[in-house]
Symmetry: C2
Subunit: 184 residues, 2 copies
DNA sequence: TTGGCCATGTAATATGTTACATGATTCC
DNA sequence: GGAATCATGTAACATATTACATGGCCAA
């Protein structure tokens, strides 16, 4: 998924300003782009030039004016096409595994400290994700199926973090216990 | 982890040519850069200029000459520093979840087909990974702990794919059975 | 004779990230 | 007075991906 299709998806739910989109994307685990992603503004201009979205300026008192973007019929067609295209494979970038891969020169204590930090970080991510999952107002629910799909999406992320946690805990124990030494 | 540290890691195992590194990285699940990643050559030149690696030209008969790179003492220090830096958080980019997120306009049959394709693709990835995991000659084993760590790295990826498979199978069943309709 | 493997590299393009600029308002 | 929020955008930089160029060897 590229940013443009993701924006189209969000706008297929409801109209948003660039600022809204930026906030939603930066707070989300699903939409994996970094925070302060100002490319959003560029993408919106491109989408608008291609006629996939249009916007309306809303003047507010006391606050800066904003451009509220909506998806067009053409945009919906384009989105549909990208939804039906072959499913994307997950792209798992676990930098920590690369760190471990070359950890041979480190002492057991150093490796354990890394694992402990990693465990704490993942536990934290999981907590934040679950707090997010408890706010149903931040996701679409236009049909029972959509509601179900979003539950499954949240469950997917939860289970990914949980299996990561189990993995790191087991690894920690086995290193702390030195049990790898007997393993042949 | 960036490409440069990953290359340093590989060279801390044994000397390789750029072509070797490219092949290893493209075939690996751990080192997540894309295939035909020719930036490797640029990175090697940078690393060499910084004195972290050096190379030796090996002339071969019938085959083009190659530059075999080795890590320097300075390179090992730099690698050690990056290994001890705070663990990187996983970066999970599951484009398929974004596809599902906006699948409301699709029919149940269309969603099911996507899920089936995804299941087949993940099953395939898992198989390829396990075939890879069965080749112990393609990973370092300089100490019992290193051997253990690489087993755990492989196990991490396996379990990630397996939990993804379980997830998609459950989702498929619940959609096929229409059970989401009763869920409140 | 076509395609794949070996081997290194350049160039172009696409994408992602960070920093900067502006300016009013509100909360501490 | 300083920081955070709202709001849009540009510029610079970093990284990633794809295509292209070269050229000999080997196997189907």
């Amino acid at each position: 998924m590229d940013l443009r299709s993701t924006i189209l998806g969000l706008l297929s739910w409801q109209p948003f300003s660039g600022y809204d989109l930026k906030r939603i994307i930066s707070q989300s685990d699903i939409f994996y782009w970094s925070g302060n992603n100002n490319q959003i503004y560029k993408s919106l201009i491109e989408l608008q030039k291609s006629g996939l979205v249009n916007y309306e300026v809303q003047v507010q008192e006391g606050l800066p004016a904003k451009k509220v973007y909506s998806i067009t019929e053409k945009g919906r067609q384009e989105l549909r096409r990208s939804l039906l295209s072959t499913p994307e494979l997950p792209d798992l970038r676990k930098g920590f595994l690369i760190q471990l891969a070359w950890a041979d020169p480190l002492t057991d204590a150093e490796v354990l400290e890394l694992l402990e930090q990693y465990e704490a970080d993942i536990a934290n991510l999981l907590q934040m994700h679950q707090a997010q999952a408890r706010k149903p107002e931040e996701r679409p629910e236009r049909s029972p199926r959509e509601r179900y799909l979003w539950e499954r999406i949240m469950a997917n992320i939860t289970s990914t973090y949980q299996s990561e946690l189990e993995w790191v805990r087991q690894t920690k124990q086995e290193i702390a216990g030195g049990s790898y030494r007997q393993k042949e």
